[in-house]
Structures are given as C-alpha cells and as structure tokens.
C-alpha cells in the first residue's frame, strides 16, 4: 500500500475508548448489580434494553389504542350505545373524528360526547343498525337534514 499524503502515515488510534465506555455505562446507569458498572456485563444489558425499547415503541401505540377504545366504549355505553355501532354511525354521518379525539371528548367533554351519541343513534335508527336496547324515543328531539327532506 502506498500512501500519497503524509497524514495517512500517522497512526490513528480511533475514537477515545474512555468515552465509548462512558457512552454505554450512561445507558446502563439504572441497572442492578454488576450490569451497571462492569462494561463487559453492561454492554449486553444495554443491547437487550435497546431491543426492548424498539419493541416498546410499538407496544405503547397498541396500548394507547386499547385504552382509547375502552374509553370510547365506556362513554358511549353510558348512553346505551355500543362502540361498534357508534363508530360506524358517526362515520356514515361524515363526522371524521379520530380515536384520540373521541376518547378525549368522552373524558373531558361529556356533553359534546352525548351530542355525538345522539347523532349516532339517529343514524343507526335510520340505517337499521340494530343493537341491544335500541329505542326510537331516545332521538325524538334530534332533527337532521334527511328528516327535513322526508317531510
């Protein structure tokens, strides 16, 4: 090998070993036992925890989805409407609110959420989406565009 420049003849030791170790040990600082301070054990733990970290990011999305679904179901069941019918109905009404917003409304804006369930109930009655405890009296106060056209 022939080097053209004098710079390449100098021996390059690479990045500082001390700081490389520090970088790993910083990630293992919350571990228990020798995994925390011995580099040899720590590096294995760090690899493992980073792997969990990657998977955890997907798990978190799934968990939040489950929780939001549960909250929407609880909110709509307060007015006697199952979540499946509720989501289907408001989608047919072109009320395009996503899962997060609906869950937030169920928790923080119960009156707004009740208004949404009224819309959903009226649509379910019109489209004959049947569910347990379905009643026409529930939505007798509710007027929508389709109703006016019929009259």
């Amino acid at each position: 090998m022939v080097f053209q420049t004098i710079v390449n003849y100098t021996y390059n030791k690479g990045p500082d070993q001390f700081w490389k170790t520090r970088r790993i040990l910083k990630l293992s600082s919350h571990f228990y036992g020798r995994r925390r301070n011995c580099y040899r054990n720590a590096i294995r733990g760090v690899w493992r925890s980073l792997r969990h970290c990657t998977l955890g990011r997907q798990d978190k999305k799934r968990d939040m989805k489950e929780l939001q679904d549960l909250r929407i179901h609880a909110g709509s069941m307060e007015h006697g409407l199952p979540r499946g019918i509720f989501k289907e109905s408001i989608e047919r009404c072109l009320i395009l609110l996503n899962r997060k917003i609906l869950a937030d409304l169920a928790v923080w804006e119960p009156r707004t959420f009740k208004a949404l369930t009224d819309v959903a109930k009226a649509k379910a009655l019109e489209d004959k989406l049947e569910y347990d405890g379905m009643k026409s009296e529930d939505v007798s106060h509710f007027i929508h565009r389709g109703l006016l056209k019929k009259k």
């Binding site: 929780l67 609880a74 909110g75 307060e78 169920a106 959420f113």
Partner: protein, 178 residues
C-alpha cells in the same frame, strides 16, 4: 388546586356502590361484568394506574345457576402443598360448604393475575341471601342489570293467570292424564 377543582376531583373518583342480584345467574358470565365494575372500566376516565374502581355488593349467591351438567362436572382444584395433597371438589359440594365461594372464585379468576387483584377483591362483598348489613346497604346507589332474564317458576303464577293462559285444545273428558 382550587377548592372547586378539588371537589370535582373528589366527586369524579368517589367509589360508587353497586348492587347485583345473583338469582338464576351464571357466575362465570357475571364475573366478567362485575370485574368491569370492580376495576372501573365502565367509566370513560378509566386508566390502569388510577384508582377508580367501585364496590359491588352481590346478594343471593346461594341461588346461582349453572348450565347443563356443570354442577356435577365442574371441579375446583386445591393442593395442600404436601405429597398427595391434591383435591378436587365438585361445584355442588363446594356450594354446600360455602354458598359464596363459587362466585368469589369466578370473579377472582376473571380479574387476571396482577398486583391489584387482592385489593380489587376487597371491594367485592358477597352475601348468600338478601340479608345485607345496614352499614353496607346504606351506601348502595346503583343496581347492575342482571345478565340473564330470571325465568318465572310455575308456582309463582297465580291460579287466575294459569286459567287465562291461551290453550290450543281441551283434553277429552274421558282422557286420563298420568
């Protein structure tokens, strides 16, 4: 936190006491619904880390019903920890010993294995009959709907109701009913 916000917080997380009548109900099916109330999962504010569960008072656990042959075939396993210590008790035997135990085990197994399970179970109050202590009864503000419609037995119908029941045909006078 203002006094208004604090009061709102107290009202939101107040424990509600529910009543459930277990007459003619399948405890395995009921356990799922009662578990939701014990964990507070029927509330929109539910979060697994917030303590928003409710109390459930179950009465008439002596009158529960199992489908099919379950009273005979459903076995409850117990192990003493010593050699040959395993024992299997039939549902009807267990029910004779303690009328609340089948219901308790059904709910306990439905709650899932976690650290909160024992504390959640403490909010379940089981009574074999309708006799509930006064200090528990005065808290109750809500009743959970029964899972199954309780069927009426023949002896609850009055003589008039039986007579007015629509008939398809009359037996001939010389017909002998055994």
């Amino acid at each position: 936190m203002s006094a208004w916000a604090r009061t709102k917080q107290w009202n939101t997380f107040t424990r509600i006491w529910h009543l459930f009548d277990a007459t003619w109900q399948n405890p395995i099916d009921c356990a799922e619904t009662i578990g939701l109330y014990l964990k507070g999962m029927y509330k929109p504010i539910y979060h697994p880390m917030s303590d928003c569960g409710d109390h459930v008072v179950v009465i008439n656990t002596k009158k529960i019903a199992f489908p099919g042959q379950d009273w005979r075939w459903r076995a409850y396993y117990h192990h003493t920890g010593y050699a040959k210590g395993a024992s299997y008790t039939r549902a009807w035997e267990l029910h004779d010993k303690d009328p609340t135990l089948i219901f308790k085990k059904a709910v306990y197994s439905k709650l899932g294995n976690n650290l909160q399970r024992r504390y959640t179970m403490q909010r379940l109050h089981l009574f074999a009959d309708e006799k509930v202590p006064e200090d528990i009864m005065k808290n109750i503000t809500n009743q959970i709907r029964p899972i199954k419609i309780v069927p009426r037995t023949l002896d609850t119908y009055s003589q008039e109701e039986i007579k007015s029941f629509p008939k398809i045909f009359d037996y001939p006078k010389d017909y002998i009913i055994r």
